[in-house]
Amino acid sequence: MKLKLVLEILGFVALAVLVAVMPSFVSDFHSREFAIVGMYFIALLGLGVLTGYSGQISLGHGAFMAIGGYTTAILSVDGISGHPVRDIWTIPIAGVVAGLAGLLVGVPALRLSGLYLALITFGIAVSFPQLPKKFGGFLGGTSGQILNLVKAPFGLDLTPNDWIYYLTWGIALVLLAVAWWLLRGPTGRALQAIRDSEVAAASSGINLAFYKTLAFGISAFYAGVAGALYAMASAYVNPDTFPIILSIYLVVGLAVGGLGSLAGLIAGAALIYFLQNHADTVARWVNHLPAVDLNPKQPGISSAIFGAVLILVMLLLPTGAGGLLRKVFRPLTTRLYTRS
């Protein structure tokens, strides 16, 4: 197992170096795009802890992102008793608020299993956008809240896009390390035991209620942080900023990334961003096929492409990118283990 650890650390360092040098090779705008991918990655890490490791399916993580986003919006615009909070300091607060909401949801979740839980969390995703509409005075109603544009602090000479990029990926790497550290320790073992068999886990002395609720809380914390960053990058929140479909996209990202594989989630995050914002590019690729001539501007084409890509990905890679990675690397690692 030592070797696996070394490989994982090497992988992490490689990722960190890649993240650090990336903006030198791409345009300023692409930094922003990668930043948003990073935000989805953070949310997916949280979802991965919940679904991949404790086996609870949540179709409501968009709501936790929304809670994070709204926290950041309220704190940085209205502030605490009239004193606006600087945007980066709202991020941990947003995470904690969302995390508390997650713990709250985690308690009834104990009684629900499988698809019942999935559908109830979906209900939360569906219901959440209604709250700002109802409580418009505090949350801004349908017209939402306009945030200040992000600017690099501490006199750093960074464009807003680069700043949000480094901020997001800095946080993402820390949270990746935390998730990894958490999951390879006793917490991770407890969660995996619960996922595999609740009865067995309980009979070997694992406190089910504690760990399942904890998983919900951690997971919501991650989503809240992602939502806070997303609100900063958009400089705007309203009920449609975190639409119902976002929760579904996150689950899509998780499935594509592969359950139980933290690194594969980057692929999932990239797919979410890419298919939402670049369906026109995909249409142009598809047009290279003979006898195909799609007009990406025609209403409906982008949804059709998104849907078709999802189906194809899941048919070809039913275990997601993470599963593929494992399949590719297993022969290698097995050989290494047996030799050592």
Partner: protein, 406 residues
């Protein structure tokens, strides 16, 4: 955790190095010797996808203009992106258009919230936000704070006020029931109506909002009917106004119905039960390609020939789609604005042109309408007529009325 700290320091160092590399060009972005680049963000997928046809109509018109030599020798390049009516994606699109595609100006992006979301961003960067497709009053009114933004269509609140004034003048003992979409759009219309009614605002006997996530507004209409009102205001959107007419018919109710402009396309009105629709009143400023009223109108003929010739993947149903006409009307004004902005337009000069418009004879809006703006009155299209639905057709009546906020 030492590793993490080291890593962060490395990251920041790399960041500083990377940032030092880039510098920004000085010339007007999006304008070259032979091209002017405009951008837009509209829904082409999801619930509101149909409204994205506004951009497709505009695109066809720009191509038509380009085929005739463009504006001052420059062709107009128009890039519009799908936001699925999600403001977050509208922000992504707008930043992509401004920073990556280097557009000269944003033109006619769709939706109140999606435009609100990027207004600050565009104004901070001094990028014109032209002729937004939204009737929220703020886009024309708050020019002091947002000098780079201008609206286009008559504000919703003025539309409500026009209905109110009409009721005061023409309906004896009105008892008014209001069905409205429970958001800023619906509330704008309601508050305008109250203003127009003035002292008669007391005659509103019931008001029920519906949420856009509803599946059917029959419960709301049932509730309104129980108020024994004789006037029904339908301040709805798309299918909800259809459902409202349907419910009125199913409940055997016979109020005088007023329906707001956005929900009053002939294509919609002709498919609801006519016993409810007959006699309904609305306002009009654009020409409706589905109406037989304009069948032989020059402007609509031009619209259809442009769409057929320069549109992409146009079907026969698109030729009767009012969103395409609306897009073309706005594009017509955009082209005039660019012409006025001088041989070598800058962002400042185009803003200047947009706030000094006096455009007569836009072929896609009602005859006689003058698109007029000044730096202190940024509502380009503010003349409307009333119209009544009869025999499967809207019949405009009365003179042009001003919808300019006072």
């Amino acid at each position: 955790m030492v590793g993490v700290r080291v890593l962060l320091v490395c990251l920041l160092a790399a960041a500083v190095a990377a940032a030092a590399a880039g510098a920004r060009p000085n010339a007007t972005p999006g304008v070259t010797a032979n091209e002017i680049h405009l951008g837009s963000s509209v829904p082409l997928s999801g619930e509101a996808a149909i409204a994205g046809n506004v951009a497709r109509g505009a695109e066809a018109y720009f191509k038509y203009v380009n085929a005739r030599g463009g504006v001052n020798g420059r062709r107009i390049k128009f890039t519009y992106l799908d936001d699925g009516y999600d403001p977050g994606r509208a922000v992504n699109n707008t930043i992509r258009l401004v920073q990556q595609e280097q557009v000269f100006a944003m033109f006619s992006s769709l939706g109140t919230n999606n435009n609100l979301a990027v207004r600050k961003l565009l104004n901070d960067n001094k990028v014109p936000q032209l002729f937004v497709s939204s009737g929220a009053t703020t886009f024309g009114r708050d020019y002091k704070k947002y000098p780079w933004t201008i609206g286009y269509i008559p504000p919703y609140s003025e539309e409500g006020a026009i209905f109110g004034r009409y009721i005061v003048k023409n309906i004896k003992k009105p008892k008014i029931a209001i069905l409205y979409q429970d958001d800023d759009y619906g509330r704008d219309l309601v508050s305008g109506l109250r203003r127009g009614l003035g002292a008669k605002a007391k005659s509103i006997v019931a008001r029920v909002g519906y949420d856009p996530t509803s599946s059917d507004v029959q419960p709301q209409v049932t509730q309104l009917k129980a108020s024994k009102a004789n006037v029904l205001m339908v301040f709805a959107f798309g299918k909800f106004s259809l459902q409202a007419f349907n419910a009125v018919s199913r409940l055997n109710w016979k109020p005088q119905i007023f329906v707001n402009d956005v929900s009053s396309a002939s294509a919609l009105m002709s498919i609801v039960p006519q016993k409810a629709a007959n006699g309904a009143i609305s306002i009009v400023f654009g020409k409706d390609p589905a109406s037989s009223l304009w069948k032989s109108d020059k402007g609509i003929r031009l619209f259809q020939s442009i769409l057929k010739q320069h549109g992409q993947d146009i079907t026969s149903r698109d030729l009767k789609d009012g969103y395409f006409t609306a897009g073309m009307a706005t594009a017509y004004t955009m082209v005039n604005t660019l012409k006025k902005a001088g041989r070598n337009p800058t962002r400042q000069s185009v803003m200047n042109a947009a706030t000094h418009l006096n455009e007569k004879g836009n072929p896609f809006v009602l005859p006689g309408i003058v698109i007029h703006t000044t730096p202190k009155s940024r509502f380009p299209l503010t003349q409307v007529r009333l119209q009544r639905w009869q025999d499967n057709n809207w019949r405009p009546f009365g003179k042009l009325i001003s919808a300019r906020p006072r």
